[in-house]
């Protein structure tokens, strides 16, 4: 992030240009349909939040440098250049006004994957020095301390001790040759230690050989959010080298949306090679344990429940049916939201928005979308599988004075787990 200049930004934009991006820009006819899929437009009615508009600086680079006609127009002075002023103005749109949720990519009539474009355009913004202070700070802490929230291993060790005392179980740390290495998000360590306890109990019961690494336990990746491949690569590399050192067969991505995108989909491309291990999302693993009969549950939740699909796990991650299979085990009155699965609406805090204090007012405003989805259903409890969504939704519910517990799916499964008594 040091030495950021417009020139570096332009180079980063150029590095991100490829055939998909060029086909998307070539195809846009400004029909405006993407706006209707974006909560930042539907909840504000401000057309500047139209998804494709957030890409205007990147579009100019494409037109002026990657089309012959655009080059001619530039020579004749008929195009507008990309300037510091332009990037400064657009910074708010591309960071505060987009969670990379990818809903727009599902509705564009010509097929533009707009969130893919925004993820790439952020590379140019951050290289030119135009990224929100909040996400810059989180990235800095992730690189220097090892966690965007500044959580160091002693904090995790303390939580481990608590959980061990509460459950009488041992949480394996730095065990070489374990099958699974579990990652955690800082938010789970600090705000939702129930997750760690749930893992310990479920894995004990299912006989899963697992470990936590004291050196690479952090799953989140601020580099993905700010749009810096350099930062993202460094953070992914820490996990990869530790997983390969411990010779694990699998790395488990926790209940965190963008962590899954980072380690599962972007990671191998960032380090330039496939891993020597597989990455599974915790819900994939739990569903496998369920399907193979290694975990059983008893009793069901009496509450009327719904599930908030975290964008990066479901729409952008492909973990669609597993949460439903798991919910079916432990609920008796489950109902899907009107727009669910790959068409679910974002909580409003993904893609780095929750780390960006400046965006808070806007984030609360667009939460109205989730609120109206919930109002429609008349449910008692909301279940989700992303610590970030969970915190954002809790804040939103409080802001709009809605009383509703928000629960993580893994811990809900653990609550109903049939455990052998020793």
């Amino acid at each position: 992030m040091s030495g950021a200049t417009l020139e570096r930004g332009m180079n980063a934009f150029r590095e991100q240009m490829n055939a998909p991006i060029a086909s998307f820009f070539s195809s846009c006819v400004n029909c405006g349909m993407c706006a209707e899929a974006c909560l930042f437009y539907t909840e504000t009615d401000d057309p500047k939040y139209t998804p494709i508009n957030k890409l205007e600086p990147f579009r100019r680079v494409w037109e002026q440098e990657y089309t012959i006609w655009g080059k001619v127009k530039s020579m004749l002075g008929l195009t507008k250049p990309v300037t510091d002023e332009l990037l400064a103005e657009w910074e708010e749109l591309i960071y505060d006004g987009c969670t990379l949720c990818g809903r727009c990519s599902m509705v564009c009539p010509v097929g533009n994957d707009i969130s893919y474009m925004i993820r790439r355009a952020r590379e140019g913004f951050v290289a030119a020095g135009y990224a929100p202070e909040g996400i810059k700070g989180a990235s800095r802490r992730a690189i220097t301390i090892g966690s965007p929230m500044g959580v160091k291993y002693p904090a995790l060790a303390a939580q481990i001790k608590h959980v061990e005392a509460d459950t009488g179980l041992t949480i394996p740390v730095d065990v070489e040759g374990a099958d699974y290495m579990a990652l955690l998000s800082s938010m789970e360590i600090m705000n939702f230690p129930e997750y760690l306890e749930a893992l310990a109990r479920i894995f004990k019961q299912a006989g899963v050989s697992w470990t936590i690494s004291s050196k690479a336990f952090e799953a989140t990746n601020s580099g993905i959010q700010i749009g810096s491949s350099d930062i993202a690569r460094e953070l992914v590399s820490r996990v990869v080298s530790e997983a390969e050192k411990l010779k694990v067969k699998y790395v488990i991505s926790p209940e965190c949306g963008h962590a899954y995108t980072a380690i599962r989909w972007e990671g191998p491309n960032l380090i330039g090679r496939p891993y020597n291990f597989k990455v599974v999302h915790i819900l994939e693993l739990l569903d496998e344990l369920r399907a193979t009969g290694r975990i059983k549950t008893e009793g069901t939740e009496d509450d009327r429940l719904t599930f908030h699909d975290p964008c990066q796990i479901v729409r952008k991650g492909g973990v669609l049916e597993q949460p439903r299979n798991l919910l079916e085990m432990v609920t008796s009155d489950y109902v899907d939201m009107t727009d669910s699965r790959e068409m679910n609406w974002c909580c409003g805090g993904g893609g780095g928005v929750s780390a960006n204090e400046r965006a808070e007012e806007l984030r609360i405003k667009v939460f109205k979308r989730k609120k109206s989805q919930l109002d429609e259903l008349n449910v008692d409890t909301l279940v989700t599988a992303c610590a970030n969504c969970r915190l954002i939704i809790e804040e939103g519910l409080e802001e709009y004075r809605m009383e509703m517990p928000v629960v993580g799916l893994t811990e809900m499964i653990a609550e109903h787990l049939v455990e052998d008594k020793e």
Partner: protein, 220 residues
């Protein structure tokens, strides 16, 4: 080009040839500009295939997603009507088929001229309504620049002049027919340099969208 007949002869002869060359070469260059950029091979272990989901998205994206359709029905329905009307007028009007047969040797059955006439009238009215929508809808007005209005105009003019020529509403006939052909040539010349290119590139865009989602196990 002192008389309407001379004008008609020019637009049917050299004028058409020039426009056709610009159109074909322009479209090929624009498609190459996109495709030569390529993309890096994806190193992440795939959950699903690319080809099947990619091709499926090329087809399925023709239908709108329910929620956004409800929010913007006019854009969707208007879009369908004028696109379909435009293609019916272009490819199912018997004199057009005869022209294509004479130049390319391809032939297919047309539909009665009075039916094409009705379709053309609906298309023209819809195109005008779409223009009003672009000028008045907050999102579309905000997004639109000169190119959006230029592409509207060069799409609209062939429909309008074709309608005028069919009904012989301008005298003499060679003049209005010549204007019709000229407007088509204008469309062909503008086509490769503007977003009209979406008529070709949408297939590439939809394929990438579907393929990239398909790899992750999602049908987009």
């Amino acid at each position: 080009m002192s008389t309407p007949t001379d004008f008609l002869l020019w637009v049917r002869g050299p004028g058409f040839d020039i426009a056709l060359v610009i159109f074909i070469i322009g479209v090929i260059i624009r498609l190459l500009e996109v495709l030569v950029l390529g993309r890096k091979p994806d190193q992440a272990e795939p959950r699903g295939g690319e080809l099947g989901p990619g091709l499926r998205t090329v087809v399925t994206r023709t239908l709108p997603e329910t929620g956004s359709f409800k929010r913007a029905p006019f854009t969707v329905i208007g879009g369908y009507i004028w696109h379909i009307g435009f293609f019916i007028s272009l490819f199912l009007f018997v004199p057009h088929i005869e022209l294509i047969n004479a130049t390319l040797g391809l032939i297919w059955p047309g539909i009665p001229s009075n039916l094409v006439d009705a379709v053309a009238a609906v298309t023209i009215v819809t195109l005008i309504a779409m223009l009003f929508s672009r000028l008045s809808h907050p999102v579309k007005r905000y997004l639109s620049g000169p190119e959006d209005y230029l592409t509207w105009l060069v799409t609209f003019l062939p429909m309008l002049t074709g309608y005028l020529a069919y009904h012989r509403m301008i005298d003499p006939y060679p003049l209005v027919l010549g204007l019709h052909i000229l407007s088509v040539e204008l469309l062909m010349v503008v086509f490769p340099f503007t977003k009209l290119m979406h008529a070709f590139t949408f297939i590439i865009a939809r394929w990438y969208n579907g393929a990239m989602a398909g790899r992750r196990g999602v049908q987009s």
